[in-house]
Structure formats: C-alpha cells, structure tokens
Symmetry: C2
Subunit: 162 residues, 2 copies
C-alpha cells in the first residue's frame, strides 16, 4: 500500500467506525428514548440524530458525490434549535434516511483517488483554493468525523444503560 | 504541495483546532467551574480535562516522540472513574501540564515525514503490522482527534455561558 493510500485508509476507517457507533446508539432507541435530552434543557437524542443526518446529507454535494437526498432536514435539524420546529420525521423514517445517506456517501468515498481527496470541496472557489489548499475534501472528511464524534459524546450521556 | 503532504496538513490542522478549542474552554474556567458536571451524575469538567491530558501524554511514547511527562495522571483520570480518587492537581497545575504535553506533541508531529506517519505505532508489533497496516501513527492521530472532540461535545454542555 502506498503512503497516500494508507493515510486515506486510516481516515475512512475512522469515519466508518464513528458512523457505526452512531448506528449502534441511535438505531437501538425506542420512540420514547429518542425524546430524552442529553442534559437538562439540552438537545434531544432525536434532534442530534437528525442533525447528524442533515450534516452528512450536505456532504453529498459538498464533496461532489451527488444531490442532497433530504434538504428538508435542514429546517428541522440545522437552521433551527431543538423544540422550535415540529418534526415531521419519525425514528423509523430517520433511520431509513440515515442509512441511505451514509450508504451514498460511502459509495462516493470509495471512488475517490488520493488526488481526488486533495482537491477542493464545492464551497471553495478555485481562486481561494490556490491560496488555501487545505480547504480540500479530505479536510471535510476529517472535520465531519470529529463533528460526529462531538455529538456522540453528548448522545452517550442520555442513552439508557444496556 | 504533494498529495501526501496535503493529507497530513489537513489532519494536523484538525488536531490543532481541536486542541485550541479545548484550550479556550478549559483554560477560562475558575476552580469552582471546573467542579461542574457535564450532566447530572456524570464527569466533572476537571476530570475531562485531566483525562484528555493523560491520553495526550500517552501519545508521546505511543508515537515514539518521547517519554511520558505525567504518568501519574493515569490513576486519577484514566484507570479510575471520576470522584473515586482524590485529585492531587489543581486547575493551574493541570493547565501547565496540558500546555507542556501538547507543545511536546506538536514539536514531535512537526518532525514526522509522510512515511513516518504511515509507520506502525508503538503498541503494535512488526508482525501484526504486516497484517494490519492501518494500525499506524496517522490512525492514532485521527482517532485521538475524534476522542478529543467527543469529550469537548460533553464539556460544552456544562461550561458557563459567556
């Protein structure tokens, strides 16, 4: 394995293990458990799950993999805080969306070469990228992995003991 | 910049930004605030900070950068849960240790070539590494960045509003 491939393999394994941790935590929750707050007055588990799904969905166009699958998630889970908007998704429909989004991402990730990963993401112009070559797809992958982990640290505070 | 260097640069920027976020959160806390729990009955902020310092300290030998600076942190912050062992560090001494550990790590990181990052870490044997080449230093860097982010997601729940 070349050094480039080894570095990317490590990052993809990190992404996958964090997504799987989220699968294990969220998919086991009952509708009632999804209503639990991670701390008094803080986000509910269903909000965190929807937030992570919405952010992952946004990676599809940002990384040039495809169109968004669930742009309607943003109003519920990104641009408005928890409990301010009525949720039109159930745990079951969120689970289906979560899996579909992550499968599409994974299929896209698998097609990227090392050089593809080092290319700019869709939210940075060619001109800006010349000055700031660190604004690449790989940085997005790492940043979103850390973001996922950030919220899983919160989710684990609320979930019922097994 | 070569592709290899671009990938490593992204990972180092991710590490640095997460450490700086932790600096900003923890270093601003008063002794009283460090006693706050992230959620009722969960870890205190001082425990999370010490835990992150201990884990970072463990990276020094794991990545072949140097000896541990604070092995005494493990009993307080890793091998025992919060509130089960009397802490012999203050917020001030923890801050000094945190900064010293992270400075040593950063100096070590800065000397690694791309090929150094793709080499095995100290907890994997040569033989195992042949079979499992993903157990490299770079994977440790990414995993510890996510771990840091995981606990910062928790810490942010407790810290006082600014």
């Amino acid at each position: 394995m070349t050094t480039e491939k080894a570095l990317i393999d490590s990052a993809l394994r990190g992404w996958k293990s964090n997504v799987e941790r989220a699968d294990n935590v969220f998919e086991a929750l009952s509708p009632g458990e999804l209503e639990l707050e991670v701390a008094p007055g803080k986000n509910r588990l269903i909000y965190l799950w929807g937030h992570l799904a919405a952010v992952n969905d946004g990676l599809l166009p940002l990384l040039g993999i495809g169109e968004r699958l669930h742009p309607e998630f943003d109003a519920m889970f990104i641009s408005n805080p928890d409990k301010s908007v009525r949720l039109t998704v159930s745990g079951q429909s969120l689970k289906a969306a979560w899996q579909e989004i992550n499968l599409n991402l994974w299929n896209g990730f698998s097609k990227f070469s090392a050089s593809d990963w080092a290319q700019r993401h869709a939210a940075v112009s060619e001109k800006d990228f010349e000055r700031e070559p660190h604004r690449n797809r790989f940085a997005v992958l790492l940043g979103r992995t850390a973001h996922l982990s950030y919220h899983m640290g919160q989710a684990t505070l609320a979930r019922p003991k097994t």
